[in-house]
Amino acid sequence: MTPQAQPLTFGQLRAAIAKEGLPWQAVPEARANQRVTPRTLGGDPKGLPLADKAPKIDFRAIVDVGTNPFLAVRRLERGFITVDKIQERFPRMALLRAGLAEVTEAEKPPEGGTAASVDWRNRWSRNWITTVRDQDGCNACWAFAGVALIEAMVKIEDAIWTRLSEGDIHRGIGAKCANLGNLTSVSNFFSTNGVCDPACFPWATNDPPYTPTPDRSGRTVRGPAFTWVGGVQAAKDWIDLYGPLITWFDVYNDFFGYSSGVYQRSTSPSNSEVGGHFMLVVGYSDALGAWLVKNSWGTGWGMAGFGWIKYGDSSIDQYSKAALCNVNPDPWSKRRLHNGALYESGNGALNRNLEVMSSNGSRVQHWWREGGPPWTWGVAKSFATDAAVCPTLTGTTFNRNMELVYLTPDARLHHWWGPGDGSGPWNDGGVFGPTDCEGIPGFVQSDYNAPGNFEVVVKVAGGRLRHIWRDGAGWHNGPKFGANIFLSGRTLVQSDFGSPHGHLEVVAVLNNGAMQHFWRKETLTWKAGALFGTGIFTPPVMIQGQYGMVNEAGPHGNFELCVAADGKVQHWWRNNSGDGHWRQGPIFGREVAMVVGMCESQWDMNLEVIVRRLDHKLQHYWRDGAGWHEGPVIGPA
């Protein structure tokens, strides 16, 4: 069975599991036979070439504006792109924040000047590198270096912290703990299958059977094959202009004891070579004459897992280095970063189209905006006849489907799903839920089971909230909670609090115009949390973003909440890595009736908001480092 060959519907998945067991169980042997051969574990001449034999990269031909504003300014500074080109893609304020004001007329490349040093752990005052991992006693550096590269590029290109699984690559190609490996096999696996998260298939040292969850195809970061960068100068240019690289390195005994400074191997006869090793190069320093590497031996080695290695030492520059660009993050990596009628999909040339679902009181209208210039909104498919409110949309692990839920005029809930690329058709998932629904539903895919359950929280009669959930057996009406509820909103989030399952968090509006935060731990009991705000009588939208996170491990991204009041939008946020208090941010917008969607986007973690105006049209607002901006009116809701 080819895992990504056909869209996998929920019903098909259930039938497949019942009939044949997990669909992915059949894949590993076939993949192992396909991938693990003496050729790929030995010497593949088409793979990682010697540095001086690598095809020369013509940076002048390949460097474009990109998707990271800081890198775009850097590319401008180096003379690879023009001011006109960069201003087509980024707002001027974003570029000023990224350093545009300091850029002077650049010499044309390659004389434009490679940076004297780069450290992606702290570039432009930010960290872009995920945590140091530990391969333990397994010879799996190749899988660890591959995942480290992919994770870094997702952060650099798409502003998303993601945690991927070394075990998915390692066991996916059929390797065992003691097996050696190379980067061609990693590149082949990634470009063919993507890489999933640890909850889909974890890293383990005991060679478990390769049985990723059946929704793997919808929870994989995807991307092209690796690029090989040969030569020291080209490697520096790549690191300066794109991101980290994977390098080869001969390990000598004294490397084990490295703890600080610049490593240069001892030439003592007693210093034996013990093997070859792959690591991620996350920077360099000409002053030190050294590469900065992220190793996979835990944080106890070197400088908290990192180390400096002298240029050319121990064959570090003998082979070309492996590079990656144009990665495409998955819905699972983005599951907390959007809510309501707005979802940033992986569609479009830049993998970041905005998708919006509106309702005129009956039909659902799908709108979309290309993830780059000219930023115009387009009309996609229209479907359904019973959408009383703008739907709550999400991307799911069912083959990256887009799925939505809305309130019907009959006080029920209605579920629809369609392919993630937006091409349609949209499929009727059926009416469900209690018969006394009164509010706008919150809707997420959670991490209970795999594929994860759907979770819905909606206001029902009697001024209460009700939790409804769907597993493999269908929809279930769960408990009621809360009291004096005036409105539910598009606020349901499965947060990163709690383990192994994140808490469910929701904010509702009370009859007195205050908002109240409710949350459910793994004990499955809903608890009432903080009250905040006054004079609120419209439904809020909430996400858990990434502000407050140091890396993919947290500590915790902030909750960001937008709600309309008095024709404007109030922005609230909760400092989840600090005191946990709700605070009100700026008020923005005009003629706003209701906030219907919100996301933290792949454009440098900008907040994007869709509102329904008093004239029943949709309008886009966004926030970058310079504050909130009024975007275009999209069209009728």
């Binding site: 574990l41 030995g42 010497g43 593949d44 001449p45 088409k46 793979g47 990682l48 070439p49 010697l50 034999k53 530990d134 391969q135 333990d136 006693g137 397994c138 010879n139 799996a140 550096c141 190749w142 065992k176 703990c177 003691a178 050696l180 490996g181 190379n182 980067l183 061609t184 080869w248 001969d250 390990v251 005994n253 084990f256 004891g257 703890s259 034996s272 070579e273 013990v274 093997g275 070859g276 090793h277 792959f278 031996w297 835990g298 106890g300 080695w301 082979y319």
Partner: protein, 129 residues
Amino acid sequence: MTESGSDEESEGKVPGSLDDGTEPVLGVRIPAHIELAAGESYRLALPSAAGGGYTWEATPAGGDPGAGRVELELGPVPPQNEQPTSALAPVTLVAAGLSPGRAVWRLRLVRVWQPATPLVDRLLEVVVR
């Protein structure tokens, strides 16, 4: 000790061996007890975990170290082709019978920066007839 595995040396087969039933280490079963004649030696290819930063250590742990000696030999790393594969130098345990008696050696597969948490920590008894 000879290079060719003559009568005075065995490789892979444990002379008078016993197996204590412990789990293999990275696919290799390591005996807990070997018997040798004085002048005889025994060689066993150990699994390498150098890719994870681990190295083998052999230290005297009891008995008469003068009766039997355990050493670790590091071979050359296989040459790389144009495409490098993560590579490991072969590690060989060499036990030599020196004089009649009993020696106990401790074998550890350990990271030098994590000495308290070895991946493997075994005793090897060498009885020399």
